[in-house]
Protein backbone atom coordinates (compact mmCIF):
# COMPACT_ATOMS: atom_id res chain seq x y z
CA UNK A 1 0.00 0.00 0.00
CA UNK A 2 2.71 2.50 1.01
CA UNK A 3 4.66 1.82 -2.14
CA UNK A 4 1.82 3.22 -4.22
CA UNK A 5 1.19 6.35 -2.21
CA UNK A 6 4.15 8.28 -3.64
CA UNK A 7 3.01 8.39 -7.27
CA UNK A 8 -0.48 9.35 -6.11
CA UNK A 9 0.70 12.27 -4.08
CA UNK A 10 2.84 13.38 -7.02
CA UNK A 11 -0.14 13.04 -9.34
CA UNK A 12 -2.36 15.00 -7.00
CA UNK A 13 0.15 17.80 -6.50
CA UNK A 14 0.74 18.06 -10.24
CA UNK A 15 -3.01 18.29 -10.89
CA UNK A 16 -3.35 21.10 -8.43
CA UNK A 17 -0.42 23.10 -9.75
CA UNK A 18 -1.36 22.67 -13.40
CA UNK A 19 -4.94 23.54 -12.57
CA UNK A 20 -3.92 26.69 -10.72
CA UNK A 21 -1.86 27.86 -13.68
CA UNK A 22 -4.65 27.08 -16.09
CA UNK A 23 -7.25 28.79 -13.92
CA UNK A 24 -5.26 31.99 -13.84
CA UNK A 25 -5.23 32.10 -17.60
CA UNK A 26 -8.97 31.62 -17.86
CA UNK A 27 -9.74 35.30 -17.35
CA UNK A 28 -13.26 36.64 -17.24
CA UNK A 29 -15.86 35.12 -14.99
CA UNK A 30 -19.63 35.23 -14.93
CA UNK A 31 -21.39 37.52 -12.48
CA UNK A 32 -23.09 34.61 -10.71
CA UNK A 33 -19.76 32.87 -10.14
CA UNK A 34 -18.29 35.97 -8.59
CA UNK A 35 -21.19 36.49 -6.18
CA UNK A 36 -21.15 32.86 -5.10
CA UNK A 37 -17.46 32.94 -4.32
CA UNK A 38 -17.33 36.38 -2.74
CA UNK A 39 -20.09 35.55 -0.26
CA UNK A 40 -18.31 32.31 0.61
CA UNK A 41 -21.52 30.32 0.37
CA UNK A 42 -20.19 28.09 -2.40
CA UNK A 43 -17.95 26.35 0.15
CA UNK A 44 -21.09 25.12 1.88
CA UNK A 45 -22.07 23.32 -1.33
CA UNK A 46 -18.61 21.77 -1.58
CA UNK A 47 -18.84 20.61 2.03
CA UNK A 48 -22.25 19.01 1.44
CA UNK A 49 -21.09 17.26 -1.72
CA UNK A 50 -17.94 15.96 -0.05
CA UNK A 51 -19.97 14.66 2.90
CA UNK A 52 -22.23 12.71 0.56
CA UNK A 53 -19.22 11.35 -1.31
CA UNK A 54 -17.57 10.36 1.98
CA UNK A 55 -20.72 8.57 3.10
CA UNK A 56 -20.97 6.63 -0.15
CA UNK A 57 -17.28 5.70 -0.09
CA UNK A 58 -17.41 4.55 3.54
CA UNK A 59 -20.42 2.40 2.67
CA UNK A 60 -18.51 0.88 -0.26
CA UNK A 61 -15.47 0.21 1.93
CA UNK A 62 -17.68 -1.55 4.47
CA UNK A 63 -19.24 -3.71 1.76
CA UNK A 64 -15.77 -4.50 0.43
CA UNK A 65 -14.52 -5.52 3.88
CA UNK A 66 -17.56 -7.66 4.53
CA UNK A 67 -17.24 -9.57 1.28
CA UNK A 68 -13.49 -10.06 1.90
CA UNK A 69 -14.38 -11.67 5.22
CA UNK A 70 -16.92 -13.93 3.54
CA UNK A 71 -14.35 -14.96 0.92
CA UNK A 72 -11.89 -16.06 3.60
CA UNK A 73 -14.39 -18.46 5.16
Amino acid sequence: MKKFMKPFLLLLVSFFTIGRLAAQGAGSESAIGETMRSSGRIYVVVAVMLTILAGLVLYLIRLDRRISKLEKE
Partner: protein, 255 residues
Protein backbone atom coordinates in the same frame (compact mmCIF):
# COMPACT_ATOMS: atom_id res chain seq x y z
CA UNK B 1 6.05 -4.52 -9.39
CA UNK B 2 5.96 -0.90 -10.61
CA UNK B 3 2.67 0.89 -10.06
CA UNK B 4 2.02 1.51 -13.78
CA UNK B 5 2.18 -2.20 -14.48
CA UNK B 6 -0.42 -2.69 -11.78
CA UNK B 7 -2.52 -0.09 -13.51
CA UNK B 8 -2.31 -2.01 -16.78
CA UNK B 9 -3.32 -5.19 -14.96
CA UNK B 10 -6.49 -3.48 -13.84
CA UNK B 11 -7.84 -4.00 -17.33
CA UNK B 12 -6.78 -7.61 -17.63
CA UNK B 13 -8.48 -10.78 -16.56
CA UNK B 14 -6.64 -14.02 -15.92
CA UNK B 15 -6.47 -16.24 -19.00
CA UNK B 16 -8.37 -19.53 -18.88
CA UNK B 17 -5.13 -21.51 -18.66
CA UNK B 18 -3.87 -19.48 -15.75
CA UNK B 19 -4.75 -20.43 -12.25
CA UNK B 20 -7.34 -18.00 -10.95
CA UNK B 21 -6.04 -17.31 -7.53
CA UNK B 22 -8.14 -14.89 -5.55
CA UNK B 23 -5.29 -12.72 -4.36
CA UNK B 24 -3.64 -11.77 -7.66
CA UNK B 25 -6.69 -10.29 -9.34
CA UNK B 26 -7.26 -6.53 -9.64
CA UNK B 27 -10.56 -6.91 -7.78
CA UNK B 28 -8.72 -7.58 -4.54
CA UNK B 29 -6.26 -4.70 -4.76
CA UNK B 30 -6.96 -1.46 -2.98
CA UNK B 31 -4.67 1.05 -4.72
CA UNK B 32 -7.08 1.88 -7.53
CA UNK B 33 -9.91 2.31 -5.10
CA UNK B 34 -7.80 4.89 -3.29
CA UNK B 35 -7.07 6.53 -6.65
CA UNK B 36 -10.78 6.68 -7.42
CA UNK B 37 -11.60 8.41 -4.14
CA UNK B 38 -8.69 10.85 -4.48
CA UNK B 39 -9.74 11.81 -8.02
CA UNK B 40 -13.39 12.21 -7.01
CA UNK B 41 -12.55 14.45 -4.07
CA UNK B 42 -10.38 16.47 -6.47
CA UNK B 43 -13.27 16.62 -8.95
CA UNK B 44 -15.76 17.82 -6.36
CA UNK B 45 -13.48 20.54 -4.98
CA UNK B 46 -11.93 21.76 -8.23
CA UNK B 47 -15.12 21.26 -10.20
CA UNK B 48 -17.08 23.60 -7.97
CA UNK B 49 -14.48 26.13 -6.92
CA UNK B 50 -12.23 26.74 -9.90
CA UNK B 51 -13.04 29.30 -12.52
CA UNK B 52 -14.73 28.16 -15.70
CA UNK B 53 -14.92 30.04 -19.01
CA UNK B 54 -17.95 32.27 -19.30
CA UNK B 55 -20.28 30.88 -21.97
CA UNK B 56 -23.61 32.22 -23.19
CA UNK B 57 -26.70 30.35 -21.93
CA UNK B 58 -24.58 27.79 -20.03
CA UNK B 59 -22.81 30.16 -17.63
CA UNK B 60 -21.86 28.25 -14.49
CA UNK B 61 -23.79 25.13 -15.47
CA UNK B 62 -20.84 24.11 -17.65
CA UNK B 63 -19.52 22.56 -14.42
CA UNK B 64 -21.93 19.73 -15.13
CA UNK B 65 -19.32 18.58 -17.63
CA UNK B 66 -17.47 17.02 -14.68
CA UNK B 67 -20.52 15.06 -13.61
CA UNK B 68 -23.07 14.51 -16.39
CA UNK B 69 -20.62 13.81 -19.23
CA UNK B 70 -18.48 11.57 -17.01
CA UNK B 71 -21.50 9.32 -16.44
CA UNK B 72 -21.69 8.61 -20.18
CA UNK B 73 -17.96 8.07 -20.49
CA UNK B 74 -18.00 5.63 -17.59
CA UNK B 75 -21.10 3.89 -19.00
CA UNK B 76 -19.41 3.39 -22.36
CA UNK B 77 -16.25 1.98 -20.74
CA UNK B 78 -18.23 -0.40 -18.52
CA UNK B 79 -20.33 -1.63 -21.46
CA UNK B 80 -17.11 -2.25 -23.39
CA UNK B 81 -15.69 -4.31 -20.52
CA UNK B 82 -19.01 -6.17 -20.37
CA UNK B 83 -18.97 -7.11 -24.05
CA UNK B 84 -15.30 -8.16 -23.86
CA UNK B 85 -16.15 -10.53 -21.03
CA UNK B 86 -19.15 -11.78 -23.00
CA UNK B 87 -16.86 -12.68 -25.89
CA UNK B 88 -14.43 -14.29 -23.44
CA UNK B 89 -17.30 -16.41 -22.15
CA UNK B 90 -18.13 -17.56 -25.67
CA UNK B 91 -14.49 -18.52 -26.24
CA UNK B 92 -13.96 -20.39 -22.98
CA UNK B 93 -17.44 -21.26 -21.62
CA UNK B 94 -16.15 -20.34 -18.19
CA UNK B 95 -19.16 -19.20 -16.13
CA UNK B 96 -16.94 -16.72 -14.29
CA UNK B 97 -16.84 -14.46 -17.36
CA UNK B 98 -20.61 -14.55 -17.58
CA UNK B 99 -20.91 -13.25 -14.02
CA UNK B 100 -18.37 -10.49 -14.75
CA UNK B 101 -20.10 -9.54 -18.00
CA UNK B 102 -23.52 -9.30 -16.37
CA UNK B 103 -22.39 -7.13 -13.46
CA UNK B 104 -20.51 -4.68 -15.69
CA UNK B 105 -23.63 -4.31 -17.83
CA UNK B 106 -25.81 -3.59 -14.75
CA UNK B 107 -23.49 -0.91 -13.42
CA UNK B 108 -23.27 0.56 -16.93
CA UNK B 109 -27.05 0.81 -17.03
CA UNK B 110 -27.07 2.49 -13.62
CA UNK B 111 -24.56 5.10 -14.81
CA UNK B 112 -26.52 5.56 -18.02
CA UNK B 113 -29.70 6.25 -16.05
CA UNK B 114 -27.85 8.76 -13.89
CA UNK B 115 -26.50 10.41 -17.04
CA UNK B 116 -30.01 10.58 -18.47
CA UNK B 117 -31.49 12.05 -15.29
CA UNK B 118 -28.76 14.66 -14.90
CA UNK B 119 -29.07 15.53 -18.59
CA UNK B 120 -32.81 16.08 -18.14
CA UNK B 121 -32.20 18.53 -15.31
CA UNK B 122 -29.45 20.35 -17.16
CA UNK B 123 -31.40 20.66 -20.38
CA UNK B 124 -34.56 21.97 -18.71
CA UNK B 125 -32.56 24.97 -17.47
CA UNK B 126 -30.50 25.68 -20.58
CA UNK B 127 -32.52 24.51 -23.60
CA UNK B 128 -36.07 25.34 -22.59
CA UNK B 129 -37.34 28.43 -24.36
CA UNK B 130 -38.65 30.93 -21.79
CA UNK B 131 -40.86 32.57 -24.43
CA UNK B 132 -42.84 29.39 -25.03
CA UNK B 133 -45.31 27.81 -22.64
CA UNK B 134 -43.92 24.83 -20.80
CA UNK B 135 -45.84 22.27 -22.83
CA UNK B 136 -44.62 23.50 -26.23
CA UNK B 137 -41.15 23.84 -24.89
CA UNK B 138 -41.26 20.24 -23.70
CA UNK B 139 -42.52 19.15 -27.11
CA UNK B 140 -39.42 20.61 -28.72
CA UNK B 141 -37.12 18.98 -26.18
CA UNK B 142 -38.76 15.58 -26.44
CA UNK B 143 -37.88 15.50 -30.13
CA UNK B 144 -34.17 15.66 -29.40
CA UNK B 145 -32.46 12.83 -31.31
CA UNK B 146 -29.85 12.42 -28.56
CA UNK B 147 -32.56 11.75 -25.98
CA UNK B 148 -34.40 9.27 -28.16
CA UNK B 149 -31.17 7.53 -29.16
CA UNK B 150 -29.94 7.07 -25.61
CA UNK B 151 -33.41 5.94 -24.50
CA UNK B 152 -33.33 3.23 -27.18
CA UNK B 153 -29.81 2.18 -26.18
CA UNK B 154 -30.75 1.91 -22.52
CA UNK B 155 -33.95 0.01 -23.31
CA UNK B 156 -31.93 -2.51 -25.30
CA UNK B 157 -29.76 -3.05 -22.24
CA UNK B 158 -32.87 -3.40 -20.05
CA UNK B 159 -33.96 -6.14 -22.43
CA UNK B 160 -30.59 -7.80 -21.83
CA UNK B 161 -31.41 -8.13 -18.14
CA UNK B 162 -34.96 -9.30 -18.82
CA UNK B 163 -33.70 -11.89 -21.31
CA UNK B 164 -31.06 -13.18 -18.91
CA UNK B 165 -33.30 -13.56 -15.93
CA UNK B 166 -36.04 -15.31 -17.87
CA UNK B 167 -33.84 -18.31 -18.73
CA UNK B 168 -33.53 -20.86 -15.96
CA UNK B 169 -30.79 -23.04 -17.41
CA UNK B 170 -27.43 -21.58 -16.42
CA UNK B 171 -25.35 -22.47 -19.49
CA UNK B 172 -28.08 -21.55 -21.92
CA UNK B 173 -28.62 -18.26 -20.13
CA UNK B 174 -24.92 -17.44 -20.24
CA UNK B 175 -24.59 -18.31 -23.91
CA UNK B 176 -27.68 -16.46 -25.13
CA UNK B 177 -27.00 -13.38 -23.05
CA UNK B 178 -23.37 -13.22 -24.22
CA UNK B 179 -24.54 -13.20 -27.84
CA UNK B 180 -27.28 -10.66 -27.05
CA UNK B 181 -24.71 -8.50 -25.27
CA UNK B 182 -22.70 -8.25 -28.50
CA UNK B 183 -25.84 -7.14 -30.39
CA UNK B 184 -26.71 -4.60 -27.70
CA UNK B 185 -23.20 -3.21 -27.78
CA UNK B 186 -23.31 -2.97 -31.57
CA UNK B 187 -26.62 -1.08 -31.33
CA UNK B 188 -25.03 1.51 -29.06
CA UNK B 189 -23.08 2.93 -32.00
CA UNK B 190 -25.95 3.85 -34.32
CA UNK B 191 -28.27 4.87 -31.50
CA UNK B 192 -25.99 7.12 -29.48
CA UNK B 193 -23.03 7.91 -31.73
CA UNK B 194 -24.18 8.01 -35.34
CA UNK B 195 -27.89 8.85 -35.76
CA UNK B 196 -27.99 11.81 -33.31
CA UNK B 197 -25.18 13.43 -35.31
CA UNK B 198 -27.07 13.16 -38.58
CA UNK B 199 -30.07 15.06 -37.23
CA UNK B 200 -30.35 18.65 -36.04
CA UNK B 201 -29.98 18.82 -32.29
CA UNK B 202 -29.49 21.27 -29.46
CA UNK B 203 -27.00 18.99 -27.79
CA UNK B 204 -23.39 20.14 -28.19
CA UNK B 205 -20.84 18.09 -30.08
CA UNK B 206 -22.72 17.88 -33.34
CA UNK B 207 -19.62 17.98 -35.57
CA UNK B 208 -17.35 15.75 -33.57
CA UNK B 209 -16.89 14.02 -30.28
CA UNK B 210 -18.32 16.12 -27.49
CA UNK B 211 -15.77 16.75 -24.74
CA UNK B 212 -13.09 14.79 -26.57
CA UNK B 213 -12.23 17.62 -28.95
CA UNK B 214 -9.27 19.66 -27.74
CA UNK B 215 -10.60 22.81 -29.38
CA UNK B 216 -14.00 22.36 -27.71
CA UNK B 217 -13.03 22.14 -24.08
CA UNK B 218 -10.97 24.87 -22.46
CA UNK B 219 -7.65 23.77 -21.02
CA UNK B 220 -8.69 24.92 -17.54
CA UNK B 221 -11.60 22.47 -17.71
CA UNK B 222 -9.65 19.57 -19.17
CA UNK B 223 -7.43 19.51 -16.08
CA UNK B 224 -10.50 18.62 -14.05
CA UNK B 225 -12.45 16.72 -16.69
CA UNK B 226 -10.00 13.91 -17.48
CA UNK B 227 -9.28 13.05 -13.82
CA UNK B 228 -13.06 13.18 -13.27
CA UNK B 229 -13.67 10.62 -16.02
CA UNK B 230 -11.05 8.28 -14.53
CA UNK B 231 -12.40 8.78 -11.00
CA UNK B 232 -16.04 8.10 -11.92
CA UNK B 233 -15.09 5.09 -14.05
CA UNK B 234 -13.04 3.57 -11.25
CA UNK B 235 -15.91 4.13 -8.81
CA UNK B 236 -18.17 2.25 -11.22
CA UNK B 237 -15.59 -0.55 -11.47
CA UNK B 238 -15.36 -0.70 -7.67
CA UNK B 239 -19.12 -1.11 -7.27
CA UNK B 240 -19.06 -3.74 -10.00
CA UNK B 241 -16.24 -5.77 -8.44
CA UNK B 242 -18.16 -5.98 -5.18
CA UNK B 243 -21.13 -7.37 -7.10
CA UNK B 244 -18.91 -9.75 -9.07
CA UNK B 245 -17.35 -11.08 -5.88
CA UNK B 246 -20.81 -11.63 -4.42
CA UNK B 247 -21.79 -13.48 -7.59
CA UNK B 248 -18.66 -15.64 -7.50
CA UNK B 249 -19.29 -16.51 -3.86
CA UNK B 250 -22.87 -17.49 -4.61
CA UNK B 251 -21.66 -19.56 -7.52
CA UNK B 252 -19.13 -21.37 -5.31
CA UNK B 253 -21.78 -22.05 -2.69
CA UNK B 254 -24.09 -23.76 -5.18
CA UNK B 255 -21.45 -26.17 -6.42
Amino acid sequence: MPWWLNFARLFMQPLPGQQMSNTKNYMYKSWWKVLSVVLLVYTFIAGILWKVPNLPALEETIRNLYFHVCMWFAMMILFTVSVINGIKYLRTFNIRYDIISRQYATTGILLGLLGYATGAIWMSYTWADPNNPAFQSFGALAREPKLIGTAIALLIYFAYLVLRDSIADMDKRARISAVYNIFAYAMLFPSIWIVPRLLPSLHPGQEGNPAMNFKDVDSSMRVVFYPAVIGWTLLGVWITTIKIRTGLLKEKKWQ
